[in-house]
Symmetry: C2
Subunit: 413 residues, 2 copies
């Protein structure tokens, strides 16, 4: 019987996502990934309540996971905060470690470039020139360039422009990091990529039924939402859950809602506390405190803070770590683990559950489907989640924080 | 000319106050004090934005100081946070140090007892039995009694009940601390006391035109305020300033307004941070975190927290220190100063200014009337004040925090 199970074990494909919120572009990616990999089980590793760009997710992680399983994803697991709210290297590193632990056979990512062979070439090219590359990278950083800019400079210096990949595009950079981790961690994951269509990552307007998550959030949070365009760009379940959340909890999550809390916290912090926060360096705290006193809103604060050295996203990540009171020492302890100590399942289908049962013997990491056994990251996660829910009414805070102690969302066919 | 000045130097009487808010009972005390001491300059040492009982003041310190000078006080100086938000010993110690530095000739306090000779007797009686007294005090504290209760037990043990003073009454306890500090610090201040009339300290209802500050705040903050009784109990300037503040800034200050901020902060604090907060001991932080998750309001939280060991006020002081992020190490550095490094003048009359000029030579501590020279406690105070103003609209926060950098309120005759 056992050997039978092993024989019929499903082939699994991993996706690395944020679903903020789940839209038609995500659905297209998921469908294409399933098609090109021939996988029978689709696993999404999803950022939790805070995202890679250093922002609160518009809806909490459980609601976003519920939408994903309703749309056909089999298993939604959490990319923990300490990997999620990070620059692309660590983000990719955490996500690939998790997919590897879950025995995923493939990983399929969206990219502007769209040709997987060129990513493999890129990986080998950079690896060959690693020392020179690192030298120029450090140089550029010391000159005060932001990380993405420094990366681009180093890449040009080693002759990267002769390759056909545009290494300045955000999803190409992420894709490279996925491929690099797949190889560096000696996994058996096969990488695939799908060309992203139409909207650019940072576009602020919805042009079509495939819109970027940025443009959709922009529409949702602006006051003169063009309803029709929005409804064309997201599945009805996303629309439903967005409306339900706002009705139940009074608001979606965006930085402006956190501005008073963040300002209070920053103006009562001590110098020694700033020094411990992940991502703070070179006296950034002085600029943060000074501008805090002048800022009229979160976005105004960001404008006042902007410098060549810090990208918008790296500043937002610092604000996220301040809001959640996250120290470098904590992050370092977690991200240096060779493999995750535990994986939290946010939602799954029956198919996803069957996959876990079938591969149980091979999966050498504990997964958590309820709080019956203590989740090793629970205290850390509680802190993050309390910060996230703190802008909601009291009753919503109580209701939503309980989700971490309940069974995950389960979708029957 | 100089010797002339010295000859005509005014006699000054100190009052130790909170004025939360200034009411007819305060005015009676001030008038009586002036009368019995024969002083020509009345100095009020007043708690700042947070009070001895561990509460935000209903109006900010500058507004309360303005009311006091309008009512005839000559000099309102701040009792800094690290002395103000403390048990009665340190509260009294700080206030007497400041009055001593300002060369006050007398100190006049209100008490339930009302006979100064008995306070002197009490002081000498306790000093005589100090060792035995301290022994029983420590014993009672170790048995889990609160500080006031332990004090009362030790007092009974040394035979204090044979004295005519009721040492369980809050203003008698404070009065004893004033007298003790006057003697222990070898000051030349002459102590006076005035019998408090009518309302008890903790009364929640206004009975008459002399009402307790507690009953007045209770009336102000409750929804069915009995306007006539209230107006009978406070001077018109207090009424005016209360209304003006609410109109300009949308609210008065009370703990309920701080509940969301405090809850956010506590649920994102680390164990190691709790350990540094002034007044936290014996695992109190575990109870605080546990009850934070259940509490529906600040008062509900307090009810959930209450134990024999902690009085309501000591718990409120802990919450104040958490809100303002105040460490034991900071407090200890300040309160062990033999005399204050600096005194902040919040408001003064022309008479008050003349007093300072006349006594300039004798006053061996710098006083601060604007921010032209850096006030040594400024960074510390800024943090406290930012926490205090954080519940107000942004424009009010900006406007009110600027007051610390402006000249003090000056009342011409």
């Amino acid at each position: 019987m056992k050997s039978m199970m092993e024989v019929v074990a499903l082939k699994a494909c991993g996706l690395i996502v944020e679903y903020n919120p789940y839209h038609n572009g995500h659905h297209y990616h998921f469908q294409q990934a399933k098609h090109v990999t021939g996988a029978e089980c689709m696993i999404a590793v999803m950022s939790g309540n805070f995202l890679q760009r250093g922002e609160p997710a518009i809806l909490d992680k459980f609601t976003r996971a519920k939408i994903a399983v309703q749309q056909g994803i089999d298993l939604v697991v959490e990319l923990p905060y300490f990997y999620a709210v990070q620059h692309s290297e660590l983000f990719a590193n955490g996500a690939v470690k998790i997919l590897n632990s879950l025995q995923a056979d493939s990983l399929c990512f969206g990219s502007e470039h769209g040709e997987i062979e060129d990513f493999n070439t890129l990986y080998h090219f950079i690896t060959e020139h690693q020392k020179v590359y690192d030298h120029y990278l450090t140089n550029a950083l010391n000159q005060g360039h932001s990380y993405p800019k420094a990366n681009d400079i180093a890449f040009t210096k080693i002759g990267g422009e002769t390759l056909s990949i545009d290494f300045a595009k955000p999803n190409n950079i992420l894709g490279y990091q996925y491929v690099k981790n797949i190889f560096d961690l000696h996994t058996t994951i096969t990488p695939y990529t799908i060309k992203r269509i139409k909207n650019n990552y940072h576009d602020r307007e919805i042009h079509d039924s495939i819109a970027s998550a940025t443009s959709i959030r922009n529409q949702l949070l602006s006051e003169n939402t063009r309803k029709n365009e929005l409804n064309d760009a997201i599945p009805s379940i996303t629309k439903e859950k967005l409306e339900e959340y706002k009705e139940l909890h009074g608001t979606w999550h965006d930085w402006e809602a956190y501005f008073p809390l963040l300002k209070y916290r920053i103006l009562t912090m001590k110098k020694e506390e700033f020094a411990k926060i992940h991502g703070i360096k070179e006296g950034l705290e002085n600029r943060i405190v000074k501008t805090a006193k002048k800022a009229d809103s979160f976005s105004n604060w960001m404008e006042l803070l902007k410098t060549k050295r810090y990208t918008w996203t790296s500043l937002q990540r610092v604000f996220t770590h301040i809001l959640t009171n996250t120290y470098s020492s904590e992050i370092e302890a977690y991200v240096t683990e060779r493999q995750p100590s535990a994986i939290r399942i946010l939602a799954m289908s029956e198919n996803g559950q069957n996959y876990l049962s079938a591969r149980k013997k091979d999966i050498n990491v504990e997964w958590y489907t309820s709080s019956k056994k203590p989740y090793p990251y629970q205290a850390f996660e509680d802190r993050i989640d309390h910060a996230y829910y703190s802008v909601l009414p009291l009753s919503s805070q109580k209701y939503l924080t309980k989700q971490s102690y309940q069974k995950p969302i389960f979708k029957t066919p």
